[in-house]
Symmetry: C2
Subunit: 201 residues, 2 copies
DNA sequence: ACACAATGAGACGAGAATGTCTCAAGCGGG
DNA sequence: CCCGCTTGAGACATTCTCGTCTCATTGTGT
């Protein structure tokens, strides 16, 4: 039983369903199971065969988001080089998961008592450690706590994802705007060379 | 008919109900009308007598949020003095409405087609104009668009409100952390005197 | 004391979403 | 070719929330 071999028999693969669900729920967090099924191109019955209920689906999305986040954290090599560059790498690596993150970030408000997945605590710790490293370095200011900087990063990712999805900012500017605002803020700093508009490849 | 005279007869005042609803819906955006009523200390029947339906309640909350936002914008005197100080005044004035704003900010994602209240457009314009003024001034960097800075302010307000409500950051640091991160970013700037931790009275 | 307005409690049906079930059809492998 | 697995479509009961209704109670002003 249970699709042990990921062969060709599985016409609908969990991953494709999850991606579709993430894309839909990001835009409309109250979407029906029927809408989720239609968005994935499968029937509601099949959706239920793979995810026994809405909460199971959301938990699976949470696991996906955590996995993508940790993959981004690994790829960003947070403990190498200047902390500011690590932050830029992190934002770039996490961009593709930002919409899903935005959904989960607001959805977590609903879990209230149930206690959230411990994966988030691990991710929080790794990001906070990066900011702490930057503070020890002397790169980052010490009057903003690592916890708040982590929280602010989440907020900016969510804002950026929404702003992009509604066309208020260009998708190509996503990484640059988030990273530069988080690092440098809105103020102009004459002595820093933060004036090249895009070009971050 | 219909309580034309806002006298002493109104035992339950709309404002108290709206504040309770805002506080509850900020934490649990899918709260039931029954939960909203209990949170306000009234019965569901009475709640329905004042707000004919859930959408009416949300619209009233939206109107309240817009009103508080515009009051904060007025009180902050955005066009006086340096733009950076105007931003600090704005964050301070808007702090009391931040939780409500956070709820409405995410709720607006659901309105999809219906077109959002024009009040938000006015508020967006006023805030964006502040950032534009700072850019013309030379105070703010020009590689971050006013639209994105406005969006980022919303995101940071929401993050801050949630972080405070969950105890991840201290409520007394709310204004300082949001304003300073938005203005100065995470990087340390040796030549600027941004190192006094609190003290913003 | 009386009348009236507002509230609280609860019943009731409508509607939507969910979870489960059955049955027919498609499709690949033995 | 036939078998078995998976899917799609739909029916069905259940649950939840909503909106409306009624009725008893409270409290206030005259």
């Amino acid at each position: 039983m249970s699709q042990a071999g990921y062969g060709c028999l599985m016409a609908v693969d969990r991953h494709h369903v999850l991606r579709s669900a993430a894309a839909l729920l990001t835009r409309k967090s109250t979407a029906t199971m029927d809408e989720v099924a239609k968005a994935a191109g499968i029937s509601r019955a099949t959706l239920h065969r793979h995810f026994a209920g809405r909460d199971v689906l959301v938990r699976a999305l949470e696991a996906l988001g955590i996995a993508e986040c940790e993959a981004a954290l690994d790829a960003a090599r947070l403990d190498e080089g200047p902390a500011r560059d690590a932050v830029r790498r992190l934002v770039r690596e996490i961009e593709s998961a930002a919409a899903l993150l935005a959904f989960l970030y607001t959805e977590n408000q609903l879990f209230e008592g149930e206690g959230q997945n411990e994966g988030w605590a691990r991710i929080d710790d790794r990001i906070a450690a990066l900011f702490r490293r930057g503070q020890s370095n002397g790169e980052f200011r010490i009057d903003l706590t690592p916890a708040w900087l982590t929280e602010a990063l989440y907020g900016l990712l969510a804002s950026g994802a929404w702003a992009v999805s509604e066309g208020r900012v260009a998708a190509k500017d996503f990484t640059y705007m988030i990273a530069e605002l988080l690092l440098g803020g809105a103020l102009r700093h004459p002595e820093r060379n933060s004036e090249q508009p895009r070009e971050e490849s």
